[in-house]
């Protein structure tokens, strides 16, 4: 395994740890049917960093971000997210932690079909106790930021794939989380739209206090990453600084 620590000179500013994982293993199933999804992951992700996780299907990328986001427990190892050992938090404390600190962007958007764009974006604020009217007002501001001014009252079905993903990004950011995890955010989009979506993510989502971890197969967006962790068979086999030529040459 290569050195997991980044060259700190290449990180723009803040080098405080957002995520620090050591010896993470995850198994599914029992006995002969047991599958080793993660086989001892060591990973540090820094605040203000956009990290991508790449690798073939079934290599454990999604399992790893599920653990980092606090929605799945590892079998062994320790995972600190902003200094909190999530596995050791109580059920309630973990739910609160996710509500305050984590934003999600999904491959299939997962927007509630019956809610308008603004209502979808307002959900994390309502989960955090903000009254509906205020939450929708703030959600509308975020929709404006992702270039969807005037589409606040549109239902997801009335939006294109790219627009839906922008709504999902606004939803992931509206409560100002410190960690945003994205699962294949561009794989359902065409090249141009995917590029636009990543542009928005890079410019709106990433800041000194916020960390983005993106799982992707899409080599077209590797250039947006600060670092890229290559995974295979439940292990991180290499972590690269963003060298576009190298990454795009790699075949997954």
């Amino acid at each position: 395994m290569t050195d997991m620590m980044p060259d700190k000179k290449l990180l723009t500013s803040n080098t405080a740890l957002a995520v620090s994982c050591h010896g993470i293993t995850k198994r599914y199933g029992e006995g002969d049917n047991q599958i080793h999804a993660l086989r001892g992951i060591d990973l540090d992700v820094y605040q203000g960093e956009l990290m991508m996780m790449v690798g073939p299907s079934g290599c454990g990328k999604t399992t790893l971000i599920s653990i980092l986001a606090g929605i799945l427990d590892q079998n062994e190892g320790e995972c600190l997210v902003f200094g909190e050992n999530i596995k050791k938090l109580s059920h309630r404390a973990r739910i609160d932690f996710r509500a305050r600190n984590v934003g999600f962007v999904f491959q299939s958007f997962n927007l509630i079909p019956a809610l308008t764009a603004a209502e979808n974006v307002a959900i994390p604020l309502q989960i955090n106790g903000m009254p509906e009217a205020r939450a929708i007002s703030k959600a509308s501001e975020y929709l404006q930021e992702v270039g969807l001014a005037g589409r606040e009252n549109s239902l997801p079905a009335q939006l294109s794939g790219g627009q839906q993903q922008r709504v999902a990004i606004a939803r992931a950011l509206v409560h100002n989380p410190r960690l945003v995890v994205c699962d294949e955010p561009t794989s359902a989009l065409d090249h141009v739209t995917g590029h636009k979506v990543m542009d928005i993510m890079k410019h709106i989502a990433v800041n000194q206090d916020r960390t983005l971890i993106i799982v992707t197969h899409d080599a077209r967006i590797f250039s947006f990453a600060d670092r890229i962790a290559h995974m295979d068979d439940g292990r991180i086999v290499q972590v690269d600084q963003n060298v576009v030529e190298k990454n795009t040459a790699r075949s997954f």
């Binding site: 984590v102 999600f104 299939s108 997962n110 019956a114 959900i123 989960i127 509906e132």
Partner: protein, 387 residues
């Protein structure tokens, strides 16, 4: 988050209408079957309910229920009147008579002879005509269901409908003329036979060849005497059976329940209605939750506590239950109103029935919500990352 739950529910109009329709139909089944059973059972004592002035019914000791008429000698009336505590006592004739229609058809009917002087026992609701017209020669009042149904004037041609009886029309009871002077609303009887009201004297005249014609003596207890005490005293002094109106209803109902399979049959239908209703309602709501499981997983992943998810699902269940039951109860009420006064299928919609069926729908929705919530609670939020 509760508004989100409601928007999820109302947002997909097709599914929402499907759920509401299912619950409304289940509610109709759960209201209608017991409603019809109550209606049929109440017919066993409907005649007693319609005659509401007397406190006590006096009859032959062998009478077991309202239609089990065992006439007494007229002299029994005077014996009853002599019992202390009796405010007044009047005779009543109740018997089956055959009515001949203009086409020669014979229709079995209930003939009621009311006290000539007071007309106690007359129907409470007269739709047309006046009660005092019963004192006119040959006068009878016919109940609404009979006038529209079995006693209606036969049509001249087979493809035409019979014409309902109206004041001025005549009937033939045991070869004697009867002039219709009014149409009354009466609760249908168990046998759904037409009811014909006339005076006691005229009823005796219609009933050829019968020596004993006093079916019941209707008694009012004095104001300060409990009817039960007066009834006991009448039995003691005369040897006749004397029952309060409620006691008479109870023994009539008991008789029908014990000697017929009506309770078993209807009870089974009610049970089937409940089970079908529960299954339909539960399944529909459970499916709705399953279809939204992915979104509940998203809520969980985003940090929605379990108790909020529980309240969201309960709110959805209660709303669909309330709206579905409301529509079902409305449809049942319309059915009850439409069939009211007829001699065929009728339905009694009591507040107890609405409360009971409403509670049943409430329980079903709670159960459906319980199973849905279990599914949501066990849901692994990590499924949100699966495609």
């Amino acid at each position: 988050m509760y508004s989100v739950a409601l928007k999820m529910l109302f947002g997909d109009r097709g599914k929402y209408i499907g759920i509401i329709t299912g619950i409304a139909l289940a509610s109709v089944i759960m209201i209608q079957q017991p409603g019809m059973m109550i209606s049929v059972l109440s017919r066993t004592y409907s005649f007693i309910s319609d005659v509401n002035q007397p406190d006590i019914w006096v009859m032959d000791p062998m009478v077991r229920y309202i239609d089990d008429s065992k006439p007494m000698l007229d002299t029994q009336l005077y014996r009853v009147r002599s019992v202390p505590g009796v405010e007044w006592a009047v005779p009543m004739y109740k018997g089956g008579q055959r009515v001949r229609l203009s086409n020669g058809e014979l229709v079995g009917s209930n003939l009621l002879g009311l006290d000539d002087a007071t007309l106690i026992g007359a129907p409470g609701i007269l739709l047309t005509g006046k009660l005092s017209d019963l004192r006119r020669p040959d006068a009878v009042i016919v109940d609404e269901a009979g006038a529209r149904g079995r006693l209606a004037k036969p049509a001249a041609h087979p493809d035409e409908k019979p014409t309902p009886l109206a004041p001025g029309d005549t009937l033939e009871i045991n070869d004697k003329r009867a002039l219709v002077v009014g149409i009354a609303r009466a609760t249908a009887t168990f046998g759904s036979q037409p009811i014909i009201y006339t005076t006691f004297t005229r009823a005796k005249n219609y009933s050829l060849g019968e020596r004993k014609l006093l079916s019941f003596v209707l008694v009012k207890a004095k104001g300060d005497e409990p009817p039960e005490d007066v009834a006991n005293r009448i039995t003691e002094k005369t040897g006749l059976k004397a029952l309060t109106a409620q006691q008479f209803k109870d023994i009539s109902l008991d008789y029908f329940i014990k000697t017929s399979s009506i309770l078993t049959n209807f009870g089974f239908m009610v049970l089937v209605g409940f089970i079908v209703g529960a299954a339909v309602t539960g399944q529909i709501f459970y499916n709705f939750t399953l279809e939204n499981l992915r979104y509940f997983a998203v809520f969980k992943a985003m940090g929605t506590p379990d108790y909020v998810l529980l309240k969201m699902i309960l709110l959805q269940a209660m709303v669909v239950g309330f709206v579905g039951f409301g529509i079902g109860a409305g449809i049942s009420a319309m059915f009850a109103a439409y069939t009211r006064g007829g001699s065929g299928i009728t339905m009694t919609l009591s507040w107890q029935l609405l409360l009971g069926s409403g509670a049943a729908v409430f329980v079903i929705c709670l159960l459906a919500a319980f199973f849905s919530v279990r599914k949501v609670f066990r849901l692994e939020p990590a499924i949100v990352f699966k495609g």
